[in-house]
């Protein structure tokens, strides 16, 4: 009876050990790969995991001309992780930067080793097409509303395919406050009708 029980236990124990081994093995492999891949372009997973094929992303807004890919310049520059105000390059961004500027700077969102990708707080690299995940790290409530279509704009079909905009289509990531607009003309006043 006792022997039989031990025999029965052996199988699950073996499986468990195997799984643990597999887990560590894979992890090592992954972290090894990570370094090699770092300079390659990070591809987006699925644009929005929550919704099926009913939703399609519109193009992210264009970069400032001549600025992307960043690695064209940055691959020759030794990264400097010291927090500082940029003066010689990207000074147009420094001039407008207003996004918790007391506490944050470039490398809180841009990856130090691969400037062509963004970087989550977890260290995970992110393509620019998926920037909403980066925004969602702090603005979780907005991300939640955006995913269900309450924050931001959707166009297309109320009962079918919808197009949605990324956060950065409306909010400049370096100065996210929505900019004031010039209003369209007011209606004619009654006294001005001839």
């Amino acid at each position: 009876m006792k022997e039989e029980r031990i025999k029965n236990i052996k199988v699950p124990i073996f499986t468990a050990v195997f799984c643990i081994g597999l887990f560590f093995g894979c992890q090592n492999k992954e972290s090894g790969n990570n370094n090699d891949l770092q300079k390659e372009k990070v591809r987006p997973e699925k644009v929005m995991a929550t919704n099926e094929d009913q939703e399609i992303a519109v193009e992210p807004p264009p970069f400032t001309e001549g600025i992307y890919p960043c690695n064209d310049c940055h691959s020759d520059i030794v990264p400097n992780p010291k927090r500082r105000k940029l003066v010689d390059m990207h000074d147009s961004i420094s001039a407008i930067f207003n996004h918790d500027s007391a506490n944050r700077w470039c490398l809180d969102c841009h990856d130090m080793n691969n400037r062509d990708s963004l970087r989550l707080a977890s260290g995970k690299l992110l393509s620019f097409e998926e920037s909403y995940k980066l925004c969602g790290q702090c603005h979780g409530d907005k991300l939640r509303d955006w995913k269900v279509g309450v924050h931001g704009k959707r166009t297309g079909y109320w009962n079918g395919k919808k197009e949605y905009l990324l956060c950065v289509n409306c909010h400049s990531p370096h100065s996210p406050h929505f900019k004031a607009l010039t209003p369209e003309p007011p209606p004619v006043r009654q006294e001005d009708i001839n």
């Binding site: 269900v148 279509g149 309450v150 009962n159 004031a180 209003p183 003309p185 209606p187």
Partner: protein, 296 residues
């Protein structure tokens, strides 16, 4: 001679005279047909098809373009709802002009289905102190918020109750529509509407030939005549095809939300279930299907 001056002979003569005058004036048969056509609500499929076809020809003649006039009925299991985020609207009036263009509203005299009211934050929603003519350099203005008002598509519409001609009614998908051919222009509905959402064609509506929207619906954006009432139809020509209304798609801040209230997965249902919503003049029991909410 004396004997002939009875009421009967008078009526007989006058009707004969009218008939001959009509035929002499060469009044074309289509116009007579249009004058005598039945209410859209009780028309048969055949009648509708014919009327829609005639309208397409008529507009083509007038504007030198191909037109498509739809008579699409309400979809099954659909009841439209609209939500507007007061915390987002900046009062830029993009919606007003997108609506004018989409729905072929008269440019001169000016008719606009959407009115954006500027209100003071200190007073809250207070129509008596609102301003529709605000015109600063940039919006939003400090200390103000904006409440766009258009037809609230009431579940219990007072405008429908007062119409003596049954020219306006609520469709199964909740859109309150007008059959412009049946409207007699008495404007009772305008007096009954507590939201100022109905507009009267005091003059002959003018739409520039190159700006006219050729995708039309009989109950929606087809050109109106002088002397009839018109109003927002949730862009019936778009929404019955599954598309969003024009005001939703133009809004630069994404304040406008639209969908099927009966669909639990829709944005509009999410808002009704998860946000604080309000309707205008709730105490009147009009039960609007146009909700205002605070997204933040």
């Amino acid at each position: 001679m004396e004997k002939n001056k009875s009421r009967r002979s008078f009526l007989k003569n006058i009707s004969l005279a009218t008939f001959s005058a009509l035929s002499l004036a060469g009044c074309n048969m289509k116009e007579i047909d249009e004058f005598l056509q039945r209410n859209f609500k009780i028309m048969s499929k055949k009648e509708k098809d014919e009327i829609v076809r005639n309208l397409e020809l008529k507009y083509k003649e007038k504007y030198n373009k191909e037109f498509h006039v739809s008579d699409a009925p309400a979809m099954d299991g659909v009841s439209f709802g609209y939500a507007l985020d007061l915390s987002r609207c900046i009062g830029c009036r993009r919606c007003v002009y997108a609506c004018v263009e989409e729905n072929n509203q008269s440019r001169e005299p000016q008719i606009q289905w959407i009115q954006v009211l500027q209100m003071e934050k200190e007073r809250g929603v207070d129509f008596a102190h609102s301003d529709v003519h605000y015109n600063p350099e940039k919006v939003p203005e400090e200390g103000h918020f904006y409440v766009p008002v258009q037809c609230q598509q009431c579940e219990n519409p007072p405008c429908v109750k007062v119409c003596p001609a049954k020219a306006t009614w609520k469709e199964p998908d909740g859109i309150v529509v007008v059959d412009y051919n049946w409207c007699i222009g008495c404007r009772y509905c305008m007096a009954a509407c507590p939201y100022g959402a109905r507009h009267f064609n005091w003059g002959k509506p003018e739409i520039p030939e190159k700006e006219i929207n050729t995708e039309m619906h009989y109950l929606g954006n087809r050109p109106r005549m002088k002397g009839v009432v018109e109003k927002c139809t949730f862009c019936i020509q778009r929404t019955r095809e599954g598309r969003y209304p024009a005001c939703v798609e133009i809004c630069p801040v994404g304040a406008r939300k639209f969908g099927n209230i009966l669909d639990p997965e829709s944005e509009i249902r999410y808002i009704l279930e998860n946000k604080r919503v309000l309707v205008l003049k709730q105490e009147l029991n009009t039960q609007p299907k146009f909700y205002y909410f605070f997204g933040v």
